[in-house]
Amino acid sequence: MMTCCAIGPAIDAATLFAGDLEPWVTARPDGSRELALIIPGICSPESIPVIEGALERLPGLASARVNFTGKRVVAIWNDPSFKPAGITEKLSQLGFISRPFDPSYSGLKADDAQSSLLLRAVAVSGFAVANIMLLSVSVWSGAEGSTRDLFHWISAGIALPTVAYAGRPFFRSAIRALSSGQFNMDVPISLAVCLAALMSLYETFNHGEVAYFDASVTLLFFLLTGRYLDHLMRARARSSVSQLLSLSASSAMIEDVGGATRIIAATALQPQMKMLVAAGERLAADGVIILGTSEIDRSLLTGETNPEVVARGATVHAGMLNLTGPLSVTVTAAGQDTFLAEIICLMASAEQSRSRYVQIADKLARIYSPAVHILATLTLVGWLIWTGGDWHTSLMTAIAVLIITCPCALGLAVPAVQTVASGVLFRNGVMIKDGAALEKLSDVDSVIFDKTGTLTLGRPRLTNSSSLASSDLALAAGLARLSRHPLSRAVCEAANSRGIAPAAVENIEEQPGNGLSGYFDGRLVRLGSRRWCGLQENGCQGLPEFVLALGETTPAIFTFEDELRPDAPAVIAKLKAEGLRVEILSGDREAPVSRAASSLGIECWQAGVTPQQKLAYVQSLKEAGRKVLMVGDGLNDAPALAAGHTSMAPSSATDIGRTTADTIFMGESLMPLLVARDVAIATQRLSIQNFALAVGYNCLAVPVAMLGLASPLIAAVAMSTSSIIVIANSLRLGLGFSKQKTVVVTKPQPNSPGISIFERRAA
């Protein structure tokens, strides 16, 4: 089943990358130039030929290639006069928001390099294992004399370069650990691999009967596989997260003293500068309005759903969205001094308390590594005393102990399960950032939700669409089609879903705080507040509404509600049935919060909570010993997200929310939350089973090896078997969950003239 991010085609000039694309253009070795763009909205494979076809028709562009996995497009051109801005423009015409992609951002480049190094090492060691095993079979089946020596020499010829090449990841890490005076798992591994290879070389020189090149290379192969899986899991999580993160390369339009305007980077803004904010733009800095009236959407900052009317003298903050009219703003604070920076500061302090968490695997590794060395040394010394100084046998037994205790199965126990889990979760629309998130998610006992954008979809929806006359809806949509006000967008969406074409309303004007007016068939038509349309206020608290007035006819009333996610009640009921404590902590006003809480059956809720209060509340629960899962999307949730035992954010969350949360879920459904918890619990169970298997195997095999009953070859076979059992056990997770696809598929909305203002949040 395909999960689609609920972005939908959105033509939204304000989210287009407004800055200069030139810094992101790179020169290719053949003299042509290339630009990589992230397009978060590529959800369905059908868009691949659409994008490629459209871009390749651009004059001057040589080629465009979509990378569907990475949700990117790489465009290449030779013509020096080609303007890369044409690409983003074309993409926005197609309804895709795009941003320049910088692989060095978020460490993806280093990730890729590391990952391909590991994969190459796996391939090389796999090749070596196959061939050495082939030769070993011949030796065991009775090759003698010069033939056996020949086979040993060929094995040596394959094994030694392989150890030197494929062993590098372990050797480097072991040397790094040793040089800082510490032990890690890689020290015994490096020791075992090198010793086994060198002993075998010594045997080969002296025409010995057995050599253990196969053992040392098999060891490497399995360890590398485990390490690659681990790396894959982390890289996958990180790259999917970075797809969602936008580059914080926002820009601002400023007006110089002389009246000239220019675009500068948001980071270059200084207090006292005069900033011009067009309707539909997000503010890049805190400031005071000096000219203009508009409505401001502050839902990302506070969770407040209703736009607020602002005029000259009002204070506005970075991150707010200017909805209806152009504003001139004197910058009062930029960069480090903004509201945003304050939130980041709060988060940093909350993060510190979380970093003390240690994963099971790490806990075990701390005991395990010294134990292995002690056991191997004991074996060596014991055998030396027992045999009266027989170095050869003693060393062989010690190597067998090192190989058999080699933490392959232990090393695979967690990464293997987590890789399978992250795949299952990814298919269900959940992305986790690291394995620790899964571990923490499994023992959560309280869930705290933010309301706006988390329990709700964060955008108003027309609730009485079916009872409205289609002519009224057509007229309203005609008026609202160019407005960015969330209610206007909801009207257009409703008209679109009923298949009603907007009426041809002319001379449309938008009055911030009041509404829209225009002329239809020569008659004045208004859409907006009751007062604006000449009706009595009726004190319908909290529920936003629009009135449509056309000439003398009876006005039609449009009511809206910030809709709950479709399956939110079911998910909340399930969470409560499982004995979890569920609460709402919202920055919105009391009326909408209490309405949402009562329709979801949540008794415990708080409204009008500031970011500081949210953080304090989560911390107080934590101190009371509760393990809190914080689910939120806004800027105001970010500190609480960081403070929670673990945290989740919808993919429509603010950048900062997505960066902070351990887990991100896609789409309009809240069901991924349940799936994530179930998978996390199953993952935890399987990890513990794997540990039991691995430790059990060691308890059995170590005494055998120490008694000298296992040759290094038998040790290598036993070690491989235990690894395979652990991997097989991990794969059971995929079997258990492949049937449970509970995600609601959200299709991209049909390409409509109406563009939801909130789609920018999904981007």
């Binding site: 494979p45 059908e46 691949i48 030929p49 076809g53 040589a62 080629s63 290639r65 979509v66 990378n67 569907f68 996995t69 990475g70 790489v74 290449i76 391909s116 994969l119 190459r120 391939a123 090389v124 090749f127 196959a130 061939n131 082939l134 030769l135 033939t147 020949l150 060929i154 394959i158």
Partner: protein, 56 residues
């Protein structure tokens, strides 16, 4: 036993060819977009082979 002189190099060479093919495909970006490649066969229109197809 002289047959070994042919068989062993042949076995090694076959393995090495496989390894080289894998490393080549890795370097060539064949593994960059596994999901996209899986879908392309279904959604992409047939078009004459162009030199640009390898550029990513």
């Amino acid at each position: 036993m002289t047959i070994l002189l042919f068989l062993i190099p042949a076995a090694l060479a076959l393995g090495a060819i496989g390894l080289a093919a894998f490393l080549w495909s890795l370097r060539n970006g064949q593994f960059d977009d596994l999901d996209g490649a899986a879908h392309r066969i279904l959604v992409a229109e047939d078009r004459p082979k162009s030199s640009t197809d390898r550029n990513n």
